[in-house]
């Protein structure tokens, strides 16, 4: 589990890391099965589950009809009945069809049954813009899910987290949503041969710095790290925090960083209004106000449906130069 004890690392794609996480879970626990649109014979719309139906058979790698509410509800039922289902929703935009099952059933049953029933369900879905899939496939709505009590929301941004978060999520007695940014699937990074489950409760400091805290998650992490590198050339040492868990938020890590740097910029691919960035900003105000040297900055998506043309799509979501500018603004530079 700890990187320090890892075996030699091999370059692995994020896609492969997710697949290995599913394989590992299927092998370790016979109650685990994968269910979703095109996950079986087609191998998953992002090719994450390619080959798994040959290895585990159609009972455990289940193709479903185009009925998000129906098969997510089936997942809730299976979890209630003692299984450990992994439901794959093709994209977060389509997950809205399953929102009733997620919010009204999965997230509430423990409460409404007085603790008699839990829903140990994991729902994976793709999120984010950048693949020119236009306004019905490209949004980042994970912030909406982070609003819901009763579920846990994860956003693995690294190969290690893509590999390690699933098993920990399956062990959780309550529903866990995992958001995989579509731009990360092809990203490769070193992954230890014996990489396994990781903690899902803590944010990670991905780069140390003393001048400004850049708080982000998912696909924006890499743009933010690029921004930190650019800022370093101007002598500005930015600290980069990868939230990893969007619900619950790891306030302790965020506040420790902001308390040190006195400045914060939140980078969030969601729309600005009512966003996760807004929530984090409010928490910083509540907990760190007397440590601040500048207003908290936000870099979010433009408040438009994500456009199809490449240049407009790029312009609509957070990019490195905006992050650099927002960080500099907190320093008055």
């Amino acid at each position: 589990m700890s990187a320090a004890q890892s075996a030699p690392a091999a370059e692995t794609t994020y896609r492969e890391a997710v697949k290995q996480a599913i394989r590992d879970a299927m092998i370790r626990d016979p109650r685990v099965f994968l269910m979703g649109e095109d996950v079986g014979r087609y191998g998953g719309c992002y090719a994450v589950s390619k080959g798994l139906i040959e290895e585990f058979g159609p009972d455990r790698i289940r193709d479903t009809p185009l009925s998000e509410s129906g098969f997510t509800g089936a997942g809730v039922g299976a979890a209630l009945a003692g299984m450990r289902p992994i439901v794959e929703l093709m994209t977060v935009n389509f997950s809205l069809l399953a929102l009733d099952q997620i919010l009204n059933n999965a997230a509430t049953i423990r409460h409404m049954s007085g603790g008699q029933f839990g829903v140990p369900l994991v729902i994976r879905m793709a999120t984010g813009a950048g693949r020119q899939l236009a306004a019905q496939h490209s949004h980042s709505l994970e912030g909406w899910y982070a609003h819901i009590p009763g579920i846990r929301v994860l956003a693995p941004a690294t190969v290690e987290d893509a590999r390690g978060m699933l098993w920990t999520a399956l062990e959780d007695p309550d529903p866990v949503l995992i958001f995989e940014n579509v731009m990360l699937y092809n990203m490769a990074g070193p992954l230890a041969a014996d990489a396994g489950a990781v903690d899902i409760g803590k944010a990670a400091v991905r780069r140390q710095g003393k001048d400004v805290s850049l708080v982000t998650y998912g696909g924006s992490l890499w743009k933010t790290l690029d921004a930190a590198a650019a800022l370093a050339k101007d002598g500005i040492e930015a600290e980069v925090i990868d939230l990893r868990s969007l619900r619950p938020l790891d306030d302790a890590t965020i506040m420790a960083s902001v308390g040190k740097t006195r400045r914060a910029v939140i980078v969030d691919e969601g729309w600005r209004t009512g966003s996760l960035a807004a929530e984090i900003s409010a928490r910083i105000m509540e907990q760190c106000f007397w440590s601040l040297d500048a207003p908290v900055g936000r870099v979010c998506s433009a408040e438009v449906p994500i456009p199809y043309p490449k240049h407009l799509e790029e312009a609509s979501i957070p990019q490195t130069p905006q992050i650099v500018a927002a960080a500099r603004a907190t320093l008055g530079r």
């Binding site: 040297d293 500048a294 907190t330 320093l331």
Partner: protein, 398 residues
């Protein structure tokens, strides 16, 4: 109630350091009175007040460096009742209105001043009992941030390492020049000029024989202290000529030319030890030659002592740079923005000239004009130099 603010004493000035108050609360002041001495990159400058009234309170302590526009004193207008120095009592809120916002903790911000102080800076200053007056901010929009308070507690502001701690009494300004800062200011102004102003240059030799002959006769009967210098004649001639050529007298700002209302001719004065300033002789065209000479003497003496008035420094409408006796024949000057012209006068030298068909020795000065081509054209520039020449041929009329 008026606020006396840190004035801008030039396009390149961002902040000034108060070295001395010349007034105290209760003093009556009228427009034009010198109320403070401020040290800038160009030296210690006497600052005038622009309204009549009574000094109500001083908001800045000597030694403090504050940005341009920062309120420095409150001045009650004539007829306005002078209230106690304390802030006016807050109005009693109407019972129906929302509760007043929570009062900020300890640190005192001067009344009327919109100082931005970060929460972190406020908390630290409150904890350590530090008065925020006079602390320069280095954060966003000039806000005082945590590091500024830390620096003030250590006794040195981060941006101005040589500044004394705010609470200490300010030392009397010495000569008042920070040569390094002045060089920086000149560099900024000259680089801006060459970057933004499309200069054109004209040159013209002016026969000074008649002028010098008149000068010799005039000075003969005068004690040395009252004698005129050729430089005063050159300045006066330029000032008179400018009345006919307003496009060389004024400022180019925000994409357009604004003619000067009067001729405030700036005189470039070199400073011993390096650098120069070009303060104005106000209304140069209306002064007699004797008055111009007196003004020139006074200005030179005060510049060398490092003391001149803010308005003298900030409002020249054109500049004359004169090399005097120890110079060379010609100089091609760089315009001081936002002015639109500068006239260079070389040393007066004796040269062979053709007069009435014969070669004869004549006293000659080379006058050059550097002008902003966005505002004027060479033809008018040439006429300006010709006009100066004509005026100098009739020195008794100057």
């Amino acid at each position: 109630m008026g606020l006396f603010k840190m004035p801008s004493l030039g396009a390149d000035m961002e902040a000034g350091k108060l070295t001395e108050w010349m007034v105290k609360p209760g003093d009556r002041v009228k427009r034009g009175d010198i109320v403070a001495v401020v040290e800038t990159q160009k030296g210690a400058i006497e600052i005038e007040v622009f309204q009549d009234g009574t000094v109500q309170s001083l908001l800045i302590e000597p030694g403090a460096t504050v940005p341009v526009g920062t309120p420095m004193a409150e001045i009650a207008g004539a007829g306005e009742a002078a209230t106690p120095t304390a802030a006016p009592p807050p109005a009693v809120p109407e019972p129906t209105t929302a509760p007043s916002p929570p009062v900020a903790p300890a640190p005192v911000v001067p009344a009327g001043a919109e100082r931005r102080v970060s929460p972190a800076a406020r908390a630290l200053a409150g904890e350590r009992g530090l008065d925020l007056t006079g602390i320069a901010g280095t954060g966003p929009e000039g806000a005082i941030v945590h590091a500024d308070i830390e620096a003030a507690l250590k006794g040195a502001a981060p941006t101005t390492p040589k500044q004394s701690a705010p609470k200490q009494p300010a030392p009397k300004p010495a000569a008042g020049f920070d040569f390094g800062a002045m060089r920086t200011a000149i560099a900024a102004a000259m680089a801006r000029s060459k970057r933004e102003i499309p200069h054109y240059y004209l040159e013209h030799s002016i026969d000074m024989t008649a002028a010098l002959a008149w000068l010799g006769r005039t000075n003969e009967s005068r004690p040395p202290a009252d004698r005129l210098l050729a430089g005063a004649m050159l300045i006066k001639a330029v000032a008179i000529a400018l009345k006919r050529f307003p496009e060389f007298n004024g400022f180019y700002e925000d994409g357009q030319f604004r003619p000067g209302e009067s001729v405030h001719l700036g005189v470039a004065i070199a400073i011993r030890g390096g650098g120069l300033v070009a303060p104005a002789i106000h209304d140069t065209d209306t002064l007699s030659l004797d008055d111009v000479m007196a003004a020139l003497r006074d200005l030179t003496a005060r510049v060398r002592a490092g003391r001149f008035r803010g308005s003298e420094l900030s409002d020249p409408t054109i500049t004359v740079s004169s090399l005097g006796e120890r110079g060379v024949e010609a100089l091609y000057a760089v315009i001081y923005p936002p002015q639109v012209a500068i006239i260079g006068m070389g040393s007066i030298v004796e040269r062979p000239s053709v007069v009435d068909g014969k070669v004869a020795p004549r006293a000659v000065v080379t006058a050059t004009l550097s002008a902003d081509h966005r505002v004027s054209d060479g033809h008018r520039g040439a006429l300006l130099l010709r006009k100066i020449d004509d005026l100098l041929q009739e020195p008794e009329a100057l």
